[in-house]
């Protein structure tokens, strides 16, 4: 089948760095002896721990209750005893965590039951099953999935788009997932389509993964209402709004949400997790992540239980082969740099990227030469040179006029700048100030 590659306007072509792991099959990480499970792993309200030290827990047992709508419950990834409930470092900052010591039995909680035939489950039930299973976006941002599936009644949804672009350099977890478990992705997509009552689903994949495109094409060959969309390899192709634009031609309004144009976007990993929930009943307690980078001895794609410390995982990848310059959760463009490796894996850990000193050292910024490249490539059509300049001068009201808050923080501008200016860093400051001011105004 020949498929035309679609894309969006703007964007950059960073080196892929995917060779190290793209042909390495997914393996299971070793069973952790201790997990540290944060009660905040998603965007939204943190969970309340419902276990206390000394409690016995089983695999898949709920240990954190979501009290708000924009929140998702949290489950134990192992069987064992709760050691303590205390604040600890997590990849996204300090949070209350439940420390569980494994008893080695991996006994599964009674509540974990297959959900039966999809035919016999209603929309509402699907959404509540997804919510109860603690499913959150697995592409990185970690937005609770059931919220996306519950549009206000005045919005009609026409399409579900699955994001298999994996446009971040280095990461190959989604790529491997599509190659090894295409059926899970397709089943998850069908669940999602039923949940929002649509008859058309897309799976977007960048054309640097021809094997994944072929596999997914095969997997959907008997599904008349699911289409694989081949995307041009370009960063940030996997950004929601860029993806919708490429796949459906629709443009999400500035400041709007995908549902405003009748689209729901989910990551392929999220779809596979949803498949697991319906087939086995197991809530989201583990995920696939790519462990890679210049300082990792043996880069791998691993299934990791939530709560497993980074350090343990890195040891299973041969440990550090060079002095560590930087540890990043996620990819190099949008990932979060970490202060230590003593932090747990969370639902949104798509990768653990460890760079050596040389890769981690950023060049000294020079004066802006007004080359216009940042303007040319910004996928949102902003003028990063102007917004960052205004931000550095503290002129946040002016920055707001230049639409600073529309920045999707993709980092393309900082990447491309020949003067190596930390553009996004300055724009983030402006965004924060503007939003704080808006809140203050009420």
């Amino acid at each position: 089948m020949s498929q035309k590659s679609v894309t969006f306007k703007g964007g950059i072509h960073p080196p892929h760095f995917k060779k190290m792991t793209e042909n390495v099959p997914i393996e299971r990480a070793e069973e952790p002896s201790l997990v540290i499970i944060p009660m905040q792993q998603h965007i939204g309200a943190p969970c309340e721990p419902i276990v206390k030290p000394g409690d016995k827990v089983k695999v898949g047992q709920k240990i954190g209750e979501a009290k708000a709508f924009v929140s998702a419950p949290i489950h134990s990834s192992i069987a064992g005893t709760v050691k303590k409930v205390a604040e600890s470092n997590t990849p996204t900052g300090k949070a209350v965590c439940v420390f569980i010591e494994s008893d080695g039995t991996n006994e599964v909680c009674e509540s974990v039951q297959p959900k039966g035939d999809l035919e016999n489950i209603s929309k509402e039930e699907i959404i509540s099953i997804i919510k109860e299973a603690g499913i959150t976006g697995m592409g990185g941002a970690g937005f609770p999935t059931h919220v996306k599936l519950s549009p206000p009644p005045d919005k009609t949804i026409d399409y579900v788009v699955l994001n298999g672009a994996e446009c971040e350099p280095y990461l190959t977890a989604d790529h491997r997932l599509m190659l090894e478990h295409p059926e899970k992705v397709v089943f998850g997509l069908k669940v999602l389509m039923k949940a929002v009552g649509v008859t058309k689903g897309f799976i977007g994949i960048e054309n640097n993964k021809p094997d994944a495109i072929e596999t997914m094409n095969k997997a959907v060959s008997s599904e008349s209402n699911i289409e694989v969309v081949v995307l041009q390899t370009k960063y940030p192709q996997g950004d929601e709004k860029r993806l919708i634009n490429a796949a459906t031609g629709r443009k999400v309004p500035n400041g709007g949400l995908p549902m405003d144009v009748g689209v729901v976007v989910n990551n392929v990993g999220t779809a596979a997790a949803i498949c697991d929930v319906f087939k086995t009943g197991m809530p989201l307690i583990e995920r696939i992540a790519t462990i890679t980078g210049s300082a990792i001895a043996k880069p791998r794609n691993l299934i990791i239980k939530v709560g497993t410390p980074f350090k343990d995982i890195i040891n299973q990848c041969g440990g550090y082969k060079e002095e560590v310059g930087k540890i990043i959760m996620g990819g190099p463009m949008m990932g979060l740099a970490q202060f230590t490796d003593e932090i747990p894996t969370i639902k949104g850990t798509s990768g653990i990227l460890v760079l050596d000193k040389e890769d981690a050292t950023l060049p000294e910024p020079q004066a802006c030469i007004r080359c216009g490249k940042c303007v040319n490539i910004c996928p949102v059509n902003l003028q990063p040179l102007i917004i960052s300049k205004l931000s550095l001068k503290g002129m946040y009201d002016e920055a707001e006029k230049f639409n600073a808050t529309s920045c999707i923080e993709c980092g393309s501008c900082s990447y491309i700048c020949p003067s190596k200016r930390p553009l996004l860093q300055a724009i983030r400051v402006a965004k924060k100030e503007i939003i704080a001011k808006r809140r203050a105004r009420g």
């Binding site: 960073p14 350099p169 709004k241 443009k251 999400v252 309004p253 500035n254 709007g256 350090k311 560590v324 310059g325 930087k326 990043i328 190099p332 463009m333 949008m334 979060l336 740099a337 970490q338 202060f339 230590t340 490796d341 003593e342 990227l353 760079l355 981690a360 950023l362 060049p363 020079q366 004066a367 802006c368 030469i369 007004r370 080359c371 216009g372 303007v375 040319n376 996928p379 949102v380 059509n381 902003l382 003028q383 040179l385 006029k401 230049f402 639409n403 529309s406 923080e409 980092g411 393309s412 900082s414 990447y415 491309i416 020949p418 003067s419 190596k420 930390p422 996004l424 860093q425 983030r428």
Partner: protein
């Protein structure tokens, strides 16, 4: 981990492109035309090019030392300015012309306004305009290519009949390869285009300014000055190619917005055609670009790109 790592803000990846690599690409692009200039105008060209570059770099170094700013001569931007200025003077000029010109370009046009990125006009063009105003005879004393270097008129001057001359127009082929009277670097259209294509390929410049600038001149001169032949002379004679590919694309003095670049380039083309066809002066490229340089901040201001998915401007 005993020692805490540094948690810097994303992205954690930077492109390999630097100011220095960009300037090096410009120099590479200008190399064929430089060699042609040396071939056509012999030792005079070598002398003037070396002096212009040396003066530009020395001026930058001295000023940055005096003002206690970091010395940035290694970014090669002064070398580019010096070379471009040399391209814009006739091969018969005395040694002090490039020295004064480069010093002016760097000291006044570039550094006095805050250095690279802050110059509101192209330094080499600013210096050329100054030289032309101060020493008009020297700056228009064109010589024929080759060892004899007798005085001649430029093709555009012949076309215009601006100078009392009974010379015939050179053939289009000679003009295309650069075997004609003119400034050191502006004569060989073919090699300048070649270098321009290299810059486009390396993404140092984008297509908007050169294509729209040259296109505008092509259309206007085709209609207003003798159809295809007239148009060809206007395109390949004089400073259009060097102006469109290397001067008008100067980062600091041209707009950063895509729409602004289109307007800027159209303005350059329009002014160049008007000056050449109706003005009292056979060349028009330098002044057109300089005028549009001055308009750049305004153009940028009114051409802010429409934000992705923006429904109503500032709504």
């Amino acid at each position: 981990m005993e020692k805490l790592l540094i948690g810097s803000s994303s992205p954690h990846l930077r492109s390999n492109e630097t100011i220095q690599s960009i300037m090096l690409d410009v120099l590479i692009a200008l190399l064929p035309a430089t060699i042609a200039g040396v071939y056509f105008f012999r030792f005079n060209a070598v002398k003037l090019i070396v002096l212009a570059i040396a003066s530009a770099v020395a001026t930058e170094y001295i000023i940055q030392k005096l003002t206690k700013k970091p010395v940035t001569i290694r970014d090669l931007s002064a070398v580019v300015t010096g070379l471009l200025l040399a391209f814009n003077i006739p091969a018969s000029a005395p040694w002090w012309i490039p020295v004064i010109g480069s010093a002016f370009a760097i000291a006044i046009v570039k550094q006095a306004f805050g250095g690279l990125g802050h110059n509101f006009m192209n330094p080499a063009l600013g210096a050329r305009a100054m030289l032309l105003a101060s020493w008009p005879v020297i700056m228009t004393n064109w010589v024929t290519p080759g060892p004899d270097a007798v005085s001649t008129a430029t093709p555009l001057a012949i076309m215009k009949g601006a100078e009392a001359t009974n010379e015939a127009l050179p053939s289009l082929t000679n003009m295309f390869i650069g075997n004609i009277g003119g400034c050191i670097g502006e004569t060989s259209a073919a090699l300048l285009i070649l270098g321009g294509l290299y810059l486009l390929y390396k993404k140092v410049i984008n297509w908007r300014i050169p294509v729209v600038y040259i296109g505008t001149v092509a259309v206007l001169t085709f209609i207003l000055d003798g159809g295809f032949t007239g148009m060809s002379y206007h395109l390949f004679a004089g400073g259009l190619m060097i102006g469109a590919f290397y001067m008008a694309t100067d980062y600091a003095s041209s707009p950063v917005t895509p729409k602004g670049q289109l307007i800027f380039a159209f303005g350059c083309g329009l002014l160049t055609s008007i000056i050449r066809l109706y003005g009292g002066y056979p060349e028009g490229v330098s002044y057109s670009i300089l005028l549009m340089n001055v308009a750049t901040p305004i153009i940028d201001k009114f051409t802010s790109p429409k934000v992705f998915g923006e429904v109503k401007r500032n709504g």
